[in-house]
Symmetry: C2
Subunit: 153 residues, 2 copies
């Protein structure tokens, strides 16, 4: 079951990348900005719900953790096609120009995060709170790493 | 393959509804508003990409249509847990108070839309442009029906 989902998730992420090229998807740069912010909002919300379980703020519920982790993993595939050139900023929360001058590093960070979210699903499904805590920690590290490097704080 | 995905999608939507109760998910009403707008933004973007194919504005590509339709179907399950009481509005794009006074009808509309998005995935996978056009039309009707009744224009 776990392997089956992982396969589906990987297939999904791969086919998505193939089917949704990183350019020409947004008529205007502001459409890309709105879209990527929306995708991060949804992803962050569901990651937050799992983190709350990992932190003991809400009771651990493997089914809810799994449903949330699946959403996180799916959302993780989406925002990175929405960083067209010229959409950096200086305000809190906006991307630094480094996203484009160090694009390979940025893309690598995105891939690392996506990989951790797939492990997060497996951990949630394992119905083992310690495994979930570890996966939440590892996923969170990949989020933070990119934010520290590429996002204005 | 089609049936398999439909099964997965239905299972996903069902387990999601069971695992994500409609209350107590958002600390503040404005968090719910931000979340639901984000979910609709992502869904609308990917539905728009399929519509563009159906309308002949971009070449029909079954793989891309399928990837987009899967995102639409998954996003369709999300926003309706994020309509807590007291988050109606009067501005363009905000929900009317009717969402809460006629909640059963609103929920029924949401379910109808979710069902059409699952058929949209099947149509995209069928690699038949006429089937896709029909499914885009049917899905769009369920969007419009709720917008006409429940959204300030």
């Amino acid at each position: 079951m776990k392997r089956k989902f992982l396969m589906i998730a990987v297939t999904f992420a791969t086919s998505l990348c193939a089917a949704l090229p990183a350019s020409a998807q947004f008529a205007k740069p502001e459409d890309a900005v709105k879209y990527r912010k929306a995708a991060f909002t949804v992803m962050g919300n569901h990651f937050g719900r799992i983190s709350a379980m990992a932190q003991g703020k809400v009771p651990f519920d493997a089914a809810a953790a799994t449903a949330n982790a699946e959403i996180v993993a799916m959302m993780a595939a989406l925002p990175f096609s929405a960083f067209p050139e010229g959409t950096s900023g200086t305000e809190k929360g906006t991307p630094k120009a480094k996203v484009w001058t160090e694009r390979a590093k940025f893309d690598e960070g995105a891939k690392a995060m996506q990989a951790e979210t797939i492990k997060l699903v497996a951990a949630a499904k394992s119905n083992n709170l310690d495994a979930l805590k570890a996966a939440v920690g590892n996923t969170g590290k990949t989020c933070k790493s990119c934010h520290d490097s590429f996002r204005n704080e």
